[in-house]
């Protein structure tokens, strides 16, 4: 048992193929100006041969290496994803097999775009409860598999990628590096964002999601900070789900994250659902934009109108 857990290191993976706004103008009726002013996206990455498990494995392998650990040190693998085509074996056991992790607790978790924050919470809870010592927490998505390229309102949004964190219990004299989770959902609003059916595509009522996100989330983001005992102006970084710059920027402003680096990975990666937060955080760390030990608010929101967030200490 331990008093809490912390992120030891992050890693990420993005496919090599870039799909620019200019490329999209040849597929659907759209323009770079239209996309940029509405969501802020310039380009996104598209997996050609990689599966969700391949991208999750690559991100997790880098996170392990960045933590200076090996497969033998891991006893829990959680993968947040809503776009894996294969249902069984799940993505987590595929990742474990690829990395040579023997006999871990291995499970997938689907709460749409808030998946990474839910997964980080369940991994933290398992470690606190003594059921696990060190975990790989991964967000991985191949959204282009479920993107309808005849729907000009949604197909411009989505990309593929993965991000991963290595999470471990803190020492007896150490403060927890992962703050209490604030999580919830609005089940009655489920129909505004769906990936349904046998050959599913993402279908979204963008205006309804936008309205929910811009009106209800600022209070939740504040409450997440309160739970962690951190004032918004003390945040070193704010990494929100990369859905739309016009959601992220007002959210940061209403929260009062005046001194925080605001993650804007959406510009070059698009919306990668559960992968977007760990991907953006891993890139911020790689570029050295956030000081070690600095409090960072992670906040995810998405399908099912689920949401979850926590303040973590930057590794």
């Amino acid at each position: 048992m331990t008093a809490g857990s912390k992120i030891l290191a992050m890693g990420h993976y993005q496919p090599a193929k870039v799909l620019t706004n200019e490329d999209l103008t040849r597929i659907v009726d759209t323009t770079d100006e239209w996309i940029t002013t509405r969501v802020g996206i310039k380009e996104r990455r598209v997996a050609e041969h990689e599966t969700v498990a391949d991208m999750a494995t690559a991100a997790a392998g880098k996170a392990l290496a960045n933590a200076g650990l090996s497969a033998a040190d891991i006893d829990q693998v959680v993968v947040a994803t809503c776009s894996s085509v294969d249902r069984c074996p799940n993505v987590a056991t595929r990742v474990a097999h690829n990395l040579g992790i023997s006999a871990p607790a291995a499970y997938d978790l689907n709460t749409g775009c808030s998946g990474f924050e839910y997964a980080l919470a369940t991994a933290d809870h398992a470690i606190r409860a003594g059921a696990s010592t060190r975990a790989l927490v991964i967000g991985a998505e191949k959204l282009t598999d479920v993107t309808d390229y005849t729907d000009r309102t949604s197909c411009i949004l989505f990309g593929d990628g993965a991000g991963a964190a290595v999470v471990a219990g803190v020492d007896a004299d150490e403060e927890p590096g992962i703050g209490p989770v604030l999580w919830g959902s609005r089940p009655e609003m489920g129909p505004v964002l769906t990936i349904e059916g046998w050959r599913p595509y993402i279908v979204q009522d963008g205006q309804a999601v936008f309205r929910w996100a811009t009106t209800e989330l600022p209070a939740f983001a504040k409450e997440t900070c309160e739970k962690a005992g951190v004032r918004p102006e003390e945040l070193g970084a704010f990494v929100a789900h990369q859905a739309n710059l016009r959601i992220i920027e007002p959210l940061a402003r209403k929260l009062g994250a005046t001194n925080a680096v605001i993650a804007r990975d959406i510009v070059e990666s698009g919306n990668t659902s559960a992968a977007s937060v760990p991907l953006a955080l891993s890139k911020l760390l790689e570029r050295g934009e956030v000081a070690s030990g600095s409090p960072v608010l992670l906040f995810g929101f998405g399908g099912g109108l689920t949401y979850a967030g926590q303040v973590v200490r930057c590794p």
């Binding site: 002013t37 509405r38 009522d205 205006q207």
Partner: protein, 81 residues
Amino acid sequence: MANRDEIRSGLADILEEVAGVDKADVADEKSFTDELDVDSLSMVEVVVAAEEKFGVKIPDDEVPNLKTVGDAVSYIEKNAA
């Protein structure tokens, strides 16, 4: 309760703040999307701000019916508390 002129002027303040619309352009016959260049997400922001300002509820499925400034003024006039 606000009269039509007051509602229109309040809407003009909101349109200027959230969508950068010139207040002088705001008139009943003007279309939000075609003439005032308010995109769908800005329209949501206008609606949310108008709800707060006028104490009125504008549900998502009502928004597409508010095509012109006059439509919005009439809706608010009719439904404001």
